[in-house]
Subunit: 388 residues, 2 copies
């Protein structure tokens, strides 16, 4: 990591801010107020695990012209000072009386005219990372300036990745791929799933992850039940299907893909399910093009699963990926987001083997003008078997 | 982890819900709406790393009487079904048109009378983990029911830990203590700090952490600059002070403490600073009592630092700890929260060695009737030296 800050040259962030300002202009926004780790990192390069503490709010204001202004707790001044922006305003946080509200209000008042509009992401997949009572106080303080929905500006900018970003995601995918190659070393019969999860995280770190924000998975006879539970303590046994799924992070960028392993001998129904998922993914890889909608991609994969005689297990079959584990759009029948060149997406079809057993397969791609380019090295066509 | 869910017997959660309902009654709340990983885990035992995905909101409604109701994406039904509550309502999320708002509104309408008040945490350290536009829609849908600030109810309940919770935090502290004992094995001169961070996370996992939500630190000549930056690539060298700070997690409970190491020979000013921090912590350990305020604890430590001839480096000198890395209160001059028996706190004095170099020392305690009990095994009085 380049000196633990910035990650990219300043020009990358300047390009992003210009993109944001282009979108803001279309939506008649005089400023954009960002409060989340991902949005702040996107605009400034400010990357820290300190967000794990809910104690303090952090703000970045993107004006309609010029560079962003950081309004942050003074504990972050040193790190933000090594990022590309120069206007950094701090307060002694946490302050139970006024936790940055006055400083933020003064900043917005100095930037936005009386009749102006300030965008805050309010739509799907967004969160406001500041206390709600402080947000109400802020609205009162900056009136008659109006706060309005700024989701589209941040979505349309962030969703198309630069080549520099794509390189970062590809590098994180390579780390996960190398860690997956080590799984047969430690995922033996008799080892508790919880220990497999620990060893997998160790492998990700040893292969170069800065940290491991997400590991999930499952292991059970002939498939698994759900894919979001913490690991159970039951040892792996012959006939289990083991799935490991990771969102590891390097330089602030995530991968998000899984791999399945047969522990000893698994049934033909499992192999058939894996084959169907593999073909459905291949079909998406060969037919997806920019201009299609997220729901089109959903249809491509479910239609192929049906052709293969498999039952899709519902839910979304993929999503955006980048500086959070999951980003918009959602590959569902209802999401009509246009898939654009430069978007990084997961393809994540799942099938139901029995009413309580599913199998999920995942790859990461970037959408190019002529179709998807894999960022995760393609899974083997046959599910690997881990034998004693 | 007991079957990857629940963590504690149902009675523990029932006790918590009764505590919440007692606070709700005092604040005239007919229901409490919880949206964050910590609050949902606290009330239900629902623990998953899936919160890492910002795609879907999750809701738990605590009524004034009876058990909580979960209103959650269907992907979580299986795991929530293994928790202690039985009323679980799901929708097919993410839904771009209605992402749980109608289901949540119907639930609140069925529980809360027309004239009723619904508490939502809005105060310091709180966040609303749902899109703001959906929150506005919800308010419209449930009118004339009012949403009001429910921070006090959740704070007064969560801040006093049960013995079962204290045991969990002590266990996580023991894991970190064992990992710190391994630091001299890998933090040698010539090893880049980024590699030290990776190895430390590996050690935490190998000692039994389920995952590592937070590692920070620093290493530089005669102290470090800030404590929130990602690791730099510079190799450790003679005269560096290395600090590692971790919020590892086991069974959903955090530790949060640091340790300092002298890489080779460090100056007397560093040893003096360490001694002052050690004495200031001892003074807090011997004099803190229930009924004191957070600001009193701040004064105890800063006064002792002054007596030791050290310069306190400002900011907060400790905070609550439990199911998030940091919880209220904040050990600052402004925080007048009463420190109560059963609170788990960090003691985190820091001193300025030179204008650009600080040293921070941290322990975790539970406040008993007769004073603090250490949960982190006490740091050595002398900073350990790592020699070639």
């Amino acid at each position: 990591m380049p000196d633990g800050s910035l990650i990219f040259p300043a020009a990358e962030y300047q390009r992003r801010v210009r993109a944001l300002q282009g979108e803001m202009s279309q939506h008649h926004l005089d400023a954009l107020l960002l409060t989340t780790p991902a949005d702040v990192f996107y605009a400034t390069g400010f990357l820290t695990r300190f967000w794990e503490s809910p104690a303090r709010p952090w703000f970045v204001v993107v004006p309609s012209n010029g560079d962003p202004v950081a309004v942050i707790p003074n504990i972050g001044a040193e790190l933000m000072g090594r990022c590309w922006i120069s206007d950094i305003r701090t307060w002694d946080a946490p302050d139970p009386v006024d936790d940055g509200v006055s400083l933020l209000a003064d900043t917005l008042i100095s930037i936005v005219p009386n009749t102006g509009r300030i965008g805050v992401p309010m739509g799907q997949e967004s969160q406001l990372r500041m206390p709600l009572a402080d947000f109400t106080r802020l609205q009162d303080r900056i009136a008659p300036r109006k706060i309005t929905d700024g989701t589209a500006a941040i979505h349309r900018s962030r969703e198309v990745k630069s080549e520099a970003e794509i390189d970062k995601i590809r590098a994180t995918c390579a780390i996960a791929d190398a860690a997956f190659a080590n799984v047969p070393e430690f995922a033996r019969q008799g080892v508790p799933l919880s220990q497999v999860f620990r060893n997998f995280q160790v492998a990700l770190l040893q292969e170069g992850a800065d940290w491991v924000s997400y590991v999930a998975g499952g292991a059970d006879q002939g498939g698994y039940g759900d894919v979001i539970s913490p690991a159970h303590e039951r040892p792996l046994r012959d006939g289990d299907v083991l799935m490991l799924d990771t969102g590891a992070v390097r330089d602030g960028y995530f991968c998000d893909f899984d791999r399945n392993f047969a522990i000893g001998r698994v049934g033909d129904d499992v192999h058939r399910a894996h084959a169907a998922l593999y073909v459905a993914t291949d079909t998406a890889l060969s037919s997806l093009r920019p201009g299609m909608l997220a729901c089109d991609l959903h249809r491509i994969m479910t239609d192929e699963l049906t052709r293969q005689g498999a039952v899709s297990c519902g839910g979304r079959l993929g999503h955006g990926l980048g500086i959070t584990l999951t980003e918009w759009p959602s590959v569902t029948p209802l999401d009509t987001t246009e898939l654009r060149e430069g978007m990084v997406l997961t393809l994540e079809p799942g099938v139901q083997i029995t009413p309580n057993r599913i199998l999920v397969h995942e790859e990461n791609i970037v959408l190019r003008a002529d179709g998807p380019e894999l960022l995760s090295p393609r899974a083997p066509a046959e599910m690997p078997e881990i034998r004693e």
